[in-house]
C-alpha cells in the first residue's frame, strides 16, 4: 500500500480471530476510503460476518490493529463502535417485535426533554417523519414492527442505520428480502451518503448489485484475505473465481423437461385483504415462478394454499380431484410441500440436530407399530440425504443452528423431500445463501422437475426466475397481472406487470 493509514477512514490491519482454537480470520486486512462503496465478498464461512462483528464491537479481535482516520482504535463493545461512527445493518434483524417502527429506530437514542430521561414523543415523531421523507421510504412510523413483512422490516433497518449519522455504515445483505424497486431506493440513499463522505461496506451475494453500486471489491476466502480490486476491473467470472478459487460455468442451464398432466389447479382463490381471484395451473414437471414486489401477496397465496391461513373463497384441485385443505396436515396428506420464506421462523427447529430436523415430517416411516423409532433406519435415511444434497456438517447430530444458511436450507429441503411430495412450493429458497450453495439448490430444483414434480417458485431475483421457470406469473397487490410462458420471457415486461400494469 503506497497510501498511508491517514487516507483511509477505516483501516483493518492483519486482524485474526479464533473460536475454540479454530481460526475464523487469519491476518485479514481491509482498507476503506471515505465516500466509497466497498463490497466485501466471499462464500458463507469466508469470515465476512466475523470481521464485521469485530468492527462493530460484538467480538474482540485476537491480533491486529484497527485504525479510524489514521488513529488506532479500541472497539470494546457495540456502543464504542457507534461512538466511533460505525453502524451496521444486520442480516438477522435485531428488532423489538412489539415496539413501533419509530421506537425501534430510536432505540437507545430516544430524544428526551432537556436533560431528563422523559422521552420527547413529539420530537421523535418529527425526526422519524423527516428521516422517512429523506430516505424516501413510506412506512407508517406507528406500525408495530411485528406486523410488518420481512421486506418492510429490512427497510426500517436501513432507516435506522442512516439515523445514526455514522461515517461508516456496514450493510449485511440489505436487499435479501426486498425487491428491485426498493433496491433502487436503497442505492439512491447510498449514493446520497457517499456524496457526503460516508463509507459503505456492502456485503451481498447478488453480483449484479455489486457491480452496480460498488467502487471497490475485496474478497475473503476461508478466513483469509484474497484480493482487492476496483469493481470496474472485475466481471462475474473473475469475481466468482476469486471467491471460490475455481471457474463456475454459466449461472444455470435449463434442460428441457416433458411436462405432464396438471398436478395442481387453483381457481379463484381469494382471501379478503390479501389477494383475490387467483387462478393458475401447474403441471407435472413444470416450474411455475411467481414474481412481484414486496407486499404483492405471493407468500400469502401459498400459505393459504398450504392451509396455514384460511381462504374465503376458491377451489383447489389436485390431480383433477377437488380437495379441501384446512391445515398443513391436509396439505402434506395431499402430497404438497412448502419451503417457507423464513426458514428460521417456519422451517427449522434451531435447537435440534440435523437428524431431528430432516426426519421431522416423515418420522412415521422410521417407526415400527409401537411408534418406536428405528434408529438404524433413521440414521441410514439421514446419511443418505446428507450425501444426496451435499450438506456440509460434521455429522447428523450437529445442531442446525451452527450450520451456514445454505446448509440450513438444504436441511429444510431434505425434510420435505422425505415426504415424497408431488407438488413443491419454494418461497425464496436461495435467500441469504452463497453462490455455490445456490447452484446446488438450482440443480436440485431441476432434478425434481425431471422427476415429474410440480414446482412453484416464489423469487425476487429475476435471473433466478428467468433461468429456472417454464412460466412466470406476476402478482401485484393481490391480483394476477401477468402470465408469461418461457418463450415470452422479458424482464422489463415482467417488471412492469409487477408494478401494476396488466399484461395480457
Amino acid at each position: 500500500m503506497s497510501l498511508t493509514q491517514q487516507d483511509y477512514i477505516l483501516g483493518i490491519e492483519k486482524v485474526s480471530k479464533s473460536f475454540s482454537g479454530v481460526k475464523a480470520l487469519d491476518e485479514v486486512s481491509l482498507y476503506i476510503k471515505p465516500g466509497e462503496v466497498h463490497a466485501l465478498m466471499g462464500e458463507n464461512g469466508a469470515g465476512k460476518s466475523t470481521l464485521m462483528k469485530i468492527v462493530t464491537g460484538i467480538y474482540q479481535k485476537d491480533e491486529g490493529e484497527i485504525f479510524i482516520d489514521g488513529e488506532r482504535a479500541i472497539i470494546k463493545d457495540p456502543k464504542a463502535a457507534l461512538d466511533l461512527g460505525i453502524s451496521m445493518i444486520h442480516q438477522e434483524l435485531n428488532q423489538i417485535v412489539d415496539m413501533t417502527v419509530a421506537e425501534n429506530i430510536f432505540l437507545g437514542k430516544e430524544p428526551c426533554h432537556g436533560r431528563s430521561h422523559v422521552i420527547n414523543r413529539r420530537k421523535q415523531k418529527e425526526l422519524v417523519r423527516s428521516l422517512l421523507h429523506h430516505t424516501g421510504i413510506s412506512i407508517n412510523p406507528n406500525a408495530r414492527i411485528g406486523d410488518l413483512s420481512i421486506a418492510e422490516r429490512q427497510m426500517v433497518e436501513i432507516v435506522k442505520a442512516v439515523s445514526y449519522n455514522s461515517r461508516i455504515i456496514i450493510m449485511d445483505e440489505p436487499t435479501s428480502a426486498i425487491t428491485d424497486k426498493e433496491v433502487a431506493k436503497l442505492f439512491g440513499i447510498i449514493r446520497n451518503l457517499t456524496s457526503k463522505g460516508v463509507a459503505i461496506i456492502y456485503i451481498s451475494h447478488k453480483m449484479d448489485e455489486i457491480f452496480e453500486i460498488a467502487d471497490t471489491v475485496t474478497v475473503l476466502r476461508d478466513g483469509c484475505y484474497v484480493d482487492s480490486k476496483p469493481a470496474n476491473e472485475l466481471n462475474n467470472n473473475s469475481l466468482i473465481r476469486l471467491m471460490v478459487g475455481r471457474n463456475i460455468n454459466d449461472l444455470f442451464l435449463k434442460e428441457a423437461v416433458n411436462v405432464g398432466k396438471p398436478a395442481l389447479e387453483v381457481n379463484s382463490l381469494t382471501k379478503k385483504g390479501f389477494f383475490q381471484n387467483i387462478s393458475f395451473k401447474v403441471c407435472q414437471g413444470e416450474v411455475v415462478g411467481f414474481a412481484g414486489l414486496m407486499g404483492a401477496g405471493r407468500t400469502e397465496v401459498m400459505e393459504t394454499l398450504f392451509g396455514i391461513m384460511r381462504h374465503d373463497n376458491g377451489m383447489v384441485k389436485i390431480n383433477n380431484k377437488e380437495v379441501v385443505i384446512n391445515s398443513p396436515t391436509d396439505a402434506v396428506k395431499h402430497g404438497m410441500a412448502l419451503i417457507s420464506e423464513d426458514r428460521k421462523l417456519k422451517g427449522l427447529n434451531l435447537k435440534g440436530s440435523v437428524k431431528a430436523n430432516i426426519t421431522l415430517s416423515n418420522l412415521a416411516d422410521c417407526c415400527n407399530i409401537w411408534e418406536v423409532i428405528d434408529r438404524k433406519k433413521e440414521n441410514q435415511i439421514v446419511d443418505e440425504q446428507i450425501k444426496l444434497l451435499n450438506i456440509k456438517a460434521s455429522g447428523r447430530n450437529q445442531l442446525v443452528s451452527t450450520l451456514s444458511g445454505g446448509n440450513q436450507q438444504k436441511v429444510v429441503l431434505s425434510k420435505w423431500f422425505l415426504t415424497n411430495p408431488e407438488i413443491l412450493i419454494l418461497d425464496e429458497p436461495t435467500r441469504g445463501i452463497d453462490i455455490g450453495a445456490k447452484q446446488e439448490v438450482y440443480k436440485i430444483i431441476a432434478r425434481l422437475a425431471q422427476q415429474g414434480k410440480a414446482i412453484i417458485l416464489i423469487s425476487s431475483e429475476m435471473p433466478e426466475l428467468l433461468g429456472l421457470c417454464d412460466r412466470i406469473i406476476v402478482l401485484h397487490k393481490g391480483n394476477i397481472t401477468g402470465n408469461f410462458s418461457r418463450a415470452n420471457f422479458n424482464s422489463e415486461v415482467i417488471m412492469s406487470a409487477a408494478m401494476g400494469q396488466h399484461q395480457d
Binding site: 396439505a331 417456519k346 411408534e371 460434521s394
Partner: protein, 318 residues
C-alpha cells in the same frame, strides 16, 4: 473440521456437567457426615424424592415443550382425596382408587392442554387457574377434612417394600424408565422436543402440534394423580391441603437437571439428577444439623447456580 470437533466436546461437557456436580456434592457431604453413605440413609433419600421425582418426570415433558404446569401440586391433592375416598377397608380392590386418581389427573391435564394448545392461552395462566380450581375441588370433595381409615393394601403402596426397596421408589423407577423410553425412543417423544424447539415449524411441517401439547399436559396430570396416591398412602391419609408448593420442587428438579424453560432441550435423566441433588442436599443438610430455614436459602441458591452454569455451558455451543 476442527471447529466441529470442538462443538462435540462442548455438547458433552454441557450434558455431563450436572452429573459431575452431583458427584462433587455427594463427596462433600460424605466428608462432612459419615452417616450419609449408609445404605439406610440412601434408601431414605430415594424414598424422600420419589413423590417429587414422579411429578418431575411429567413436568419434564411439559417444560421441554416450552410450557409449564403449576397445577401439579393441586392435582396431586385431588388425586389423593379421590383415591383415599375409595380406599377404605373392605371397599374396592386397591387398583380402583389408583386408577381413579390417574384418570382424574389425566382429565384435568387434558383440560389444561386444551386451553393451552387450542385456545392459545399462556401455560402459566392456564395452569395457575387449574392450580386454584383443582385445590378447590379437593376441598369441596372432602368438605375440608382429611380422609383417614384406609385399607392395609392401600397403605402398602406407601409403606411396603419389595426386595428391600420401598414401594414408592419402585413406582418412581418404573415411571422414570417409562418416561425415558417414551421421550427418547418414540415418535411422540421426538415431536415433544420439536414442538419445544419451534412449534410453528413443526406445524408447517404437517404435524398436529395441538395433539402433542395436550398429551404432555395429560401425562403431567396423570403422574400428579399417581404421586397423590403414593403420598397419601405413605402418610395414610388423603388431605385436601397436601402437596402445596410441590410444583416448585418439581420445576426446580427439571431446571437443575438441564432442561431449559425455553424448551426444545432437556432429558429425564437430567431431571432425576436434579431431583437427587435436591434430595441429597436436603438430607445432607439435615445430617449436618442445618436448620430448615437455612436449607430453604441453600436450595434457592443451588437452583440459581445450576441455571447459571447451564446457561454458560449452552452459550458456548453457538
Amino acid at each position: 473440521m476442527n471447529f466441529y470437533a470442538n462443538i462435540k466436546k462442548q455438547q458433552i461437557l454441557y450434558r455431563y456437567g450436572i452429573y459431575f456436580a452431583f458427584i462433587v456434592l455427594v463427596a462433600a457431604i460424605s466428608i462432612g457426615s459419615p452417616s450419609f453413605f449408609k445404605l439406610s440413609n440412601i434408601i431414605n433419600i430415594l424414598r424422600q424424592i420419589s413423590v417429587n421425582g414422579i411429578l418431575a418426570v411429567g413436568m419434564t415433558f411439559v417444560i421441554i415443550t416450552a410450557g409449564i404446569d403449576l397445577s401439579v401440586g393441586s392435582i396431586l391433592a385431588l388425586g389423593a382425596v379421590v383415591a383415599t375416598s375409595m380406599a377404605h377397608p373392605g371397599e374396592y380392590p386397591v387398583i380402583v382408587p389408583v386408577l381413579s386418581a390417574l384418570l382424574v389427573g389425566l382429565c384435568l391435564g387434558v383440560i389444561n392442554g386444551y386451553f393451552i394448545a387450542k385456545k392459545r392461552l399462556a401455560p402459566f395462566i392456564v395452569t395457575l387457574g387449574m392450580m386454584t380450581i383443582a385445590r378447590g375441588m379437593a376441598l369441596v370433595y372432602t368438605d375440608g377434612r382429611p380422609i383417614i381409615n384406609l385399607s392395609d393394601s392401600y397403605n402398602q403402596i406407601g409403606g411396603g417394600y419389595l426386595l428391600g426397596i420401598p414401594l414408592p421408589v419402585i413406582v418412581f423407577i418404573i415411571v422414570l424408565l417409562l418416561g425415558i423410553f417414551v421421550l427418547n425412543y418414540t415418535r411422540f417423544g421426538r415431536y415433544v422436543y420439536a414442538v419445544g424447539g419451534n412449534e410453528l415449524a413443526v406445524k408447517v411441517s404437517g404435524i398436529n402440534t395441538s395433539r402433542i401439547i395436550i398429551r404432555t399436559y395429560a401425562i403431567s396430570g396423570a403422574l400428579a394423580g399417581l404421586a397423590g396416591v403414593v403420598l397419601s398412602s405413605r402418610v395414610m391419609s388423603g388431605s385436601p391441603s397436601t402437596g402445596q408448593g410441590l410444583e416448585l420442587d418439581a420445576i426446580a428438579a427439571v431446571v437443575i437437571g438441564g432442561t431449559s424453560l425455553s424448551g426444545g432441550v432437556g432429558s429425564i435423566t437430567g431431571t432425576i439428577v436434579g431431583a437427587l441433588i435436591i434430595g441429597v442436599m436436603n438430607n445432607g443438610l439435615d445430617l449436618l444439623n442445618v436448620s430448615s430455614y437455612w436449607q430453604q436459602i441453600v436450595k434457592g441458591l443451588i437452583i440459581v447456580f445450576a441455571v447459571l452454569l447451564d446457561r454458560k455451558a449452552k452459550k458456548q455451543l453457538v
